[in-house]
Amino acid sequence: MDFFGNLMVGFSVTFQPINLSFCFLGVFVGTMIGVLPGIGPVGTMAILLPVTYGIPPTTAIIMLAGIYYGAQYGGSTTSILVNIPGEAASVVTCLDGYQMALQGRAGRALGIAAFGSFIAGTFGVIGLQALAPPLVSVALRFGPPEYFSLMTLGFVILTYLAQKSMAKALMMAGVGILLGVIGLDTMTGMPRFTFNIPELLDGVGLAPLAMGLFGISEILLNIERKIKQELLTTKVKGLLPTLEDWGRSIWAILRGTAVGFFLGILPGGGAVLGSFVSYAVEKRVSRHPEKFGTGMIEGVAAPEAANNSAAQGAFIPLLTLGIPANVVMAILLGALMIHGITPGPMLLKEHPDLFWGVISSMYVGNAMLLVLNLPLIGLWVQLLRVPYPILFPLILFICLIGSYLINNSTVDVALMLFFGVVGYLMRKFEYEPAPLVLAFVLSPLLENALRQSLILSDGSFTIFFLRPISGGCLVLAAVLLMTSVLPFIGKRREKILKKGEEDE
């Protein structure tokens, strides 16, 4: 089937009333949590995971995907108006966006952020649609050793790009793998690390784990600090960028789109890295790099475009290989598996409606977001006025109900609280939760691939090195590990990451 044929299949799914409604719900909730500080798309998707049990899988994924890319739109609002990024991917937008707001150009900054996001999001979907089918045909040649090596490479890239220590990030991936084996061993039926708790026989749930590590821990961290909520008192007006603004921004948007999309495909890359790199690119190509940080519209357009196209690019490894590129995609993978669907190369063949339906919903979702973010900007500004002492009890309460509804059991709620405290301490001690959650989701797939490979090779580990794709992935992983250990490269990596942190 050709490009447009696939698109038609997708739109026929997207335009079903239930899918359209949940797409709207997803992008609406996404924008809302993007605007609100203290709760991110990962926590929200985890909270809403139990809600998706009762709806068809395509509808569920359309909604969850909408939350993700919707949050990228919403995140820019707080960056521009209050100098607090709603999302990590909008951190860099603060630099010029807030300066524009101080100069009375908040409306144009918000406008270019929304239009840039829309253009990038749309190009991102086109890229996803064009790249996914050829990649599927490559992925069909993959066996267990290739999957094992590819996932290993993914972990190494993810931890290589970790903000803090690579050893700590790798350690967290190990902890995630360990948590992922809790429950009955699918091959032997033996319970593992269940401590005689019957509820743990099915394993630790993704929702309590993610809600705890991202939702509860965030609340615990925020309430010990005094959050200053400052809001511009001037009215936001003039949302449509002028011709001059367009002239200065259009190439920045296109460059940001390309950078974000390709970095989004990388494991661990995603929207955050995309926005930082695109800002750096703009600064480098600009004739006035010294003016960045003083209210340059390119400094808003490029990162906002990049974080949206990265959000679309991140779907490629998930939909084609079944391997999530970041923790948000790991939640989506978990959601698909809860519905009995294994993402990967067979997804396109076995569930074309889901595959093309989700992709097409992003076109519609992007259009909805444009409407939600421009005419309704006043609504989101009002939302920013809700003080955190009132907001956090509500977020906590939603987490508590959400975790209880998974199995109608307080064990899941207790697990969520436990992981919340663990997540709080992890962040205090500078351990990142993202590699843990990603490894947790991939753990069963990784174990199966390892065991099957060893059974295939009669116990020989050479199977991982003698097959070209598998061997290539492992060599690349080894090279990355070596470079992070070598002093001069390690120091350079630390310097780059430190610079990124300072920019934050």
Partner: protein
């Protein structure tokens, strides 16, 4: 003690305990890995990384390393404990007192007791939140939320 070392020693202990637990599960053979094989590898890996972090902490300058107590310096550290304990209380009471009563008590105590908002807000916000949650989960999504001994 330095925070970095405390953290790495904790994870080292966790790694070693899980390695021991994996051996108890049975490692099997390479040609037929047992239930403990994969967690054994994970446990060893965690222990190795924890040791690297521990030894790295000696190589870094003293001045760049945070002390354990400094992680909570200047912060309102009692609040996370209060909220954690209140949430624990909510979990223990949920199935006995029911979703509406425990939900109200939790929100009211946080808003009035911890955050010191006005009486009006401390009552109105929980009532509205519970009303919307009841409609959404019980009525629209037909989810089963615990009723408790009072039947609501």
């Amino acid at each position: 003690m330095k925070a970095e070392r405390v953290g790495s020693l904790f994870w080292l202990a966790a790694g070693l305990i899980s390695t021991y637990g994996s051996v108890q599960l049975g490692l099997g053979k390479f040609r037929e890995p047992g239930s403990g094989f994969f967690p054994f590898l994970a446990g060893c890996f965690i222990s190795l990384m924890a040791m690297i972090v521990f030894f790295q902490s000696f190589l870094r300058g003293r001045e760049v390393q945070a002390k354990l107590s400094s992680l909570w310096e200047g912060l309102r550290w009692r609040r996370p404990i209060e909220i954690g304990l209140l949430t624990l209380g909510y979990i223990l009471a949920l199935e006995r007192l029911g979703f509406l009563l425990t939900g109200f008590l939790l929100l009211f105590v946080i808003l009035k007791g911890v955050e010191r908002v006005s009486w009006g807000k401390a009552i109105l916000i929980p009532v509205l939140t519970l009303g919307v949650s009841y409609l959404l989960f019980n009525v629209f999504l037909k989810a089963t939320l615990p009723k408790g001994v009072f039947g609501f």
